[in-house]
């Protein structure tokens, strides 16, 4: 069955990708779930310099999800380009390679994007806007329209690859931020990133995580993600913009992915569920194909946004 999805001028062999930070650099799970069988791999967020990350504990389970406070631990741009990316490119097959980047200043975002964009291998860039802006009072880039515009337009000018803005749900109006990202030149929108949360250790009477707060992910946030996709899709339709949405947040099975697609997502990313079983994204893709077959849907793209009033 043909599951091909056209998006951002790229062809995806199926609509299921794996989310940044949940599939490493593709190598770690390759023997169990080769990402080459998926729509694409979004690599762990890369910053200009290698980062050690936050003090432990960094993760803790919550009801139907988990909190993480990793602190963007990553190998750094140079190691990524020389050691990780060549392996990924060699093993990608038909899967699309999307490199997720972040920075702590607009200049850093642009620098990292330019370096990745001028290296063979990546098919698109995903911009993680969940970083604190050290030059603007540590407000997250994604929460400030001016910062979103500065980052996306700065990156847009430097790279010819499709640019995906990964939006945070921790804003009053995600649709307004989506509009800013599109005006700045984003080719697609990924949503959502994690929600802030905290778990308290009753015996220590302190937050469990080393940094106190963490990002909540997993099935617990799926309704939030679906609502954000629905809202942003509506906004895009209103603007007359043909900007595809990539749905992320708590997808564990085909039915979960379908919710996102019906809300308006052209592609989906499986994230935290990869930790439960690395074969989850492959199963999601199979279940979507089975659904299309049983419901006699020609292509999954025919379902995008159908939950909206017509």
């Amino acid at each position: 069955m043909n599951q091909t999805v056209k998006c951002m001028g790229l062809s995806f062999q199926n609509p299921v990708l794996v989310a940044s930070g949940t599939f490493g650099y593709g190598e770690e799970y390759y023997d169990i779930m080769p990402f080459s069988a998926l729509g694409g791999l979004v690599t762990k967020t890369i910053t200009a310099a290698r980062r050690e990350g936050n003090p432990p504990p960094r993760i803790v389970e919550t009801d139907a999800g988990m909190l993480n406070s990793i602190g963007l631990a990553n190998v750094g741009l140079e190691c990524f380009l020389t050691e990780k990316l060549p392996w990924i490119a060699k093993h990608a097959g038909q899967a699309r390679v999307i490199v997720n980047i972040a920075g702590f200043s607009v200049d850093e975002y642009v620098e990292v994007a330019a370096a990745v964009g001028s290296t063979p291998g990546p098919d698109a860039l995903e911009i993680n806007l969940g970083c604190p802006n050290v030059r603007a009072g540590y407000v997250h880039f994604g929460a400030d329209p001016e910062s979103v515009h500065a980052v996306i337009s700065g990156v847009r000018k430097k790279v010819s690859l499709p640019v995906i803005a990964k939006l945070t749900p921790n804003v009053t109006d995600i649709a307004a931020l989506a509009e800013v990202a599109v005006d700045a030149g984003a080719d697609a929108l990924s949503l959502i990133n994690t929600l802030p949360g905290m778990k308290i250790d009753l015996s220590k009477r302190r937050p469990v995580l080393g940094m106190g707060f963490g990002g909540l992910s997993g099935p617990a946030i799926r309704p939030v993600g679906v609502a954000c996709v629905y809202k942003v899709y509506q906004q895009m339709q209103g603007m007359g913009a043909q900007v595809p949405i990539i749905g992320i947040g708590g997808i564990c099975c085909g039915a979960d992915a379908l919710e996102y697609i019906l809300a308006g997502a052209s592609l989906v990313q499986v994230g935290t569920a990869n930790f439960l079983h690395p074969r989850t994204p492959g199963n999601v893709a199979c279940e979507l194909a089975e659904f299309c077959e049983s419901e006699q849907v020609g292509n999954i793209s025919d379902l995008v946004g159908l939950a909206h009033e017509r």
């Binding site: 930070g21 949940t22 599939f23 490493g24 770690e28 799970y29 023997d31 169990i32 762990k44 050690e52 990350g53 936050n54 003090p55 432990p56 504990p57 960094r58 993760i59 803790v60 389970e61 919550t62 009801d63 139907a64 999800g65 988990m66 993480n68 990793i70 631990a73 997993g218 099935p219 564990c252 935290t272 990869n274 930790f275 439960l276 079983h277 690395p278 074969r279």
Partner: protein, 279 residues
Amino acid sequence: MEQIRNLGGWRLKPVFEWVRVTRISSVAERTFVIAFNEPKSAAAIGPGQFCMISPCPGSSNVFLPRPFSYYRVADDHTIEILFRTFGRATRWMAGLAPGDRIGVFGPLGNTFNQQPGAERVILAGGGIGLPPIVFLAESLSRLANAPQIDLIYGELGGARVVDLEKVVPSQVRCHITTEDGTVGAKGLVNGQLSRILDTCHSPPAVYTCGPRAMMAAVAGMLDPEKVALFETSCEENMACGRGICQGCAIPLRGEQDSTRYVCCCTEGPVFNGFEVEWD
């Protein structure tokens, strides 16, 4: 002195299997042994390695898999995990019955150095840090020139003490210590360790696994010049077991008093005890 081996060269690729529990038994207060058969990986498992155990989807409110050190691996590929109930996942496991299915992802991580390079070996296990210590005692006892092995096992109270007689080879000298003194000697693991160290005429190899405070105390009383080897098996919350989530950071001493974080799951769980930042 290279104390942490890179086993990447021969380490078996981990397998994810749904297996059926063959046996589950209570062996001490809140302490259980769960057994299952997993022939794809059993032959390659070394002491110190661990697996991630997860429930079948929808069968429990446990969300993430949990890491457990291997306790015993039999020649018939029966794998045993020793665990104690602390939270949601271990309570779920304690309620399992023979025939129930669980997800097992392993073997993961590195092993203890099984070439201790010393005539005497001291193994120190505290509380639920016991499993890899028992596995290592069994493994070292099989060496052609097996060293003299002393195994110190500490618990809070006697009700929690696991009977070592059936699981530790007879040539291993066991020293049980409890904080309330109800079983074995009254006191802490490091008290026993100090006494045994005094009887060593040459630098011994020391291996430990237990609560962080216990391992820190052991690290504090060892002189790097006077031990042949000092390895600790560490634990940290983790989600994937494969170095992806970056959740299980262990702080190691970096250059110039800096701290560098490494993943417990891929660079450990066994570390050179002198390199870990215990503070």
